[in-house]
Every structure is written in C-alpha cells, then in structure tokens.
Amino acid sequence: MTSFNVIRWIVWKDFVTELRSRETISSMVFFALIVILIFSFSFSMDQQAAREVIAGIMWVAFAFTGIIGLGKSFSTELQNDCLEALQMVPEAKGAIYLGKVAANFAFMFVVEILLFPMFVILFNLEVVEEISLLLLIFLLATVGLSAIGTLFSALTVQIRAREVMLPILLLPLVVPVMIAAVEATKGALNGDPLALYGQWLELLAVYDVVFTVVSFWMFELVMDS
C-alpha cells in the first residue's frame, strides 16, 4: 500500500510540475515538429512510397523526442538536491522507478498522439481503419522506451555529460523496440493482415515485460550508487 502511494505521489508531482513549468512536453513537441517538417520537405513522395518509409521517420522522431523527455525526468531532481531526498525514501526504490516510468510514459504518449496527426496531414496518410492497431503499437513501444529509458535517465543524471551519455547508452538497447515498432507500424499502415506482423507486437510485449522487471530490480542499485 505504501509503495502504491509512493508511485501515486511521484506521478502527481511530475504531472503538477510539468503542468506549471511546461518545460518537458513543450520542448518535446517543438523538437518533434522540427524533425517532421524537415523530413516532409526533404522527401516528396506519393502515398505508397510514404507508407514504406513513414514508419521509420515516425519512430526516429518519437525516439529522439522521447530521449528529451527522459533526460529531463531525473535532471529536474537535481534542483535543490531533490535527488538526495528520493535516495533517502525509506521504501523499496522500485516504487519511485514505477512512478517515474508512468509519468515518462504519459508524457511520451501524449506527445506521440499530438504529433501523429501532423504525419497524417504532411505525408497524406489514410489511417482511419488502422487507428486502433496503431495506438496499440504506440502504447507497447512507448512502454518499452520509458521502461529502459527511465533507468538510464537515473543512471546518467549525475554524469557531467549526461545529455550526450543518455542517447549513447540508451539507443543501442532500444534497437529491438525500434525495429519492432517500425515493422509493426509499416504493416498496419499498409493494411496488411495482423498475422503478417503480429510477431513484432509479441516482441514489443516481451521486451516491455523483461526490461520493466530488470530495470525495476536494478533501479535500487542505481539509486544507492
């Protein structure tokens, strides 16, 4: 019960802080808009060509945008040495990890939902029939990114070059998520039968479970080191 309260209060604190400062989501949206606009002006393509490459462009934009949010997740705790207070919480640190994962997931998912219509408009996509599947792919991939990203955000927060180290350490580990998300999104946008790309959704689900559990246990070591 106490652990659940810790999760709830961490999520509440991150939401309230973000609603008042609007630092994380605004910088994520602004960065992603620039990426989308650059890609849309760089490639002139018909709808068929767009369906082939748009999944990759979309997940590159989402991943780099997510890294901005993940980097801020723990760097805000350096203000007034609040990280020390989190280290001194007399509860298993896994509750703090889950609270941070939930908040990071929410920020990333909201940004993805806000940005997706931009892709649809700028790349002239027809997605009405696949929208529920696309949301499922976004959800599974974003859980994976936030699960491992939250751990590495905590790991790199006290490093001087954390803005550089976070993507360098994180991106190789999220390659399976990126590949699975791109392949599944491509399949959904092409209107392929689910059987053709269902294995990528399974891979995303397995990755989410494995890396959430591993990161949950490792977080205590990271916070105590």
Binding site: N5, K13, V16, Q79, N80, Q87, M88, V89, E91, D224
Partner: protein, 222 residues
C-alpha cells in the same frame, strides 16, 4: 543514538576521513566544527545513508548503517545544503509530497500549525520558486518538524536563517532533545550553536578531536 566505528572515506587517493570514532547518546546534541573541506558534510552524508564509508561502519539507533538502511531512513531526517524542495510546488504541496514519501499523511491542521511555527504560514499557497533562501530553509525545517525523527542531522543549519529563524531552529532542536532525540550538526557558527550543543568536536583534515563546548573559542575553529 549514533555510533561511528573507525569511519574512513577516500575519493581515489584523497583521504577525506581518517578513523572517525564518535558516539552520541539519546538526548545529546553534538556540534561538529571544522574548516572548509575538513570532511564534515562527507561524514553527515555517510550517516544519512547517502554515501558508503570506505572503511569502518556506523550504527544508528542500534541498527547497522550498511544493512538496515531503510529502517534508519524512516527514523532520520537530514537537513542538507540543498533544501530538497521542488520550485514548482507550493509550500503545502512540498510538505505533503515529502511526508507522503515517508509514509506519513499530515492533516491540513498539522501543516498549517507547522508553517505558522516557522513563520511562513502566510505563504502556504505560494510556489517556493518565489521564496528567499531563508524561507526555503524554514520550509525544510517544517518538513523535519512534521516527520518527528529520532535522529536529526543538520548540515550548516544556520546558513540563510535570520535571528528569528535561528531561534525557531534552536527551539526545535531542544524539543527533539527533550524527547530523547539525537542531533548531530555541522557548523562554523560557534555563538549560535553553544546554547544547544551538549558536546562538540573539531574535524581537521579528516580527523575528529572532541573539545569542550564552553571552552571553545572562534580561533579554535579555523
């Protein structure tokens, strides 16, 4: 009760603490003096479970500092250099958040009382980004008051506090001592510390030497 057994701490080849032995009983306030870089904050960080000693060990309330960290953390408050407060939250929200992480749920009446006690009740709904350093220090003190810890660690607690704030802090330390609490504070301010300290020590180049509180002169502290 705090007991340090031959605590040493080094960063690479640089030895910060050398075999620090210290025992502070319940109801005692130990004042730790020493020049900048003497190792005062390092010792407090170790006792607050934020750092591990390189050698030796410590006990707090009879519990091993390296084995029973969570129990120790539940019974200890550390007022550090940083105030551990979130600038975007107001005073009441900061208190509610900090206490909730310790498993406490103070009532609105408790929060109001404690904010009035540290004389910032009028600013309860103000984001603390607008607070002065002294007001933040008072709010951090309010957090400690609500937590009612058995062990209180204070790192240069008088910094940024005005005369009234200093007296509020000293009254709180006396209250903890009267309830058999244990207090360890590091400071450079002998005059402000003397009224509350039961014992004192000077940390020089990582070595602790106990001295009499009454006979301590400002010249001894540099």
């Amino acid at each position: 009760m705090i007991a340090c057994h031959a605590i040493g701490k080094s960063y690479g080849h640089f030895q910060v603490l050398h075999d620090v032995n210290l025992s502070i009983a319940e109801g005692e306030c130990f004042a730790l003096f020493g020049p900048n870089g003497a190792g005062k904050t390092t010792l407090l960080n170790i006792l607050a479970t934020l750092q591990r000693p390189s050698t030796g060990y410590y006990e707090i309330l009879g519990m091993h500092g390296l084995k029973d960290k969570d129990t120790i953390r539940a019974n200890l408050v550390f007022l550090a250099h940083g105030t551990h407060l979130y600038d975007e939250l107001n005073a009441k929200e900061n208190l509610a958040f900090a206490l909730a992480l310790r498993g406490h749920r103070p009532t609105d009446r408790d929060v109001k009382q404690v904010l009035d006690r540290v004389a910032i009740g009028a600013f309860a709904d103000m984001k603390i980004r607008h607070f002065s350093a002294g007001m933040k220090k008072r709010l951090a003190l309010a957090k400690a008051m609500l937590a009612k810890p058995n062990v209180l660690l204070l790192d240069e607690p008088f910094t940024a506090l005005d005369t009234a704030g200093t007296e509020i802090l000293r009254a709180y330390v006396r209250e903890r001592l009267s309830e058999n609490g244990t207090v360890l504070l590091s400071t450079h301010d002998h005059d402000k510390t003397r009224p509350i300290a039961s014992r004192a020590g000077i940390l020089r180049q990582g070595t602790l030497q106990e001295v009499a509180v009454e006979g301590l002169k400002s010249d001894d502290l540099v």
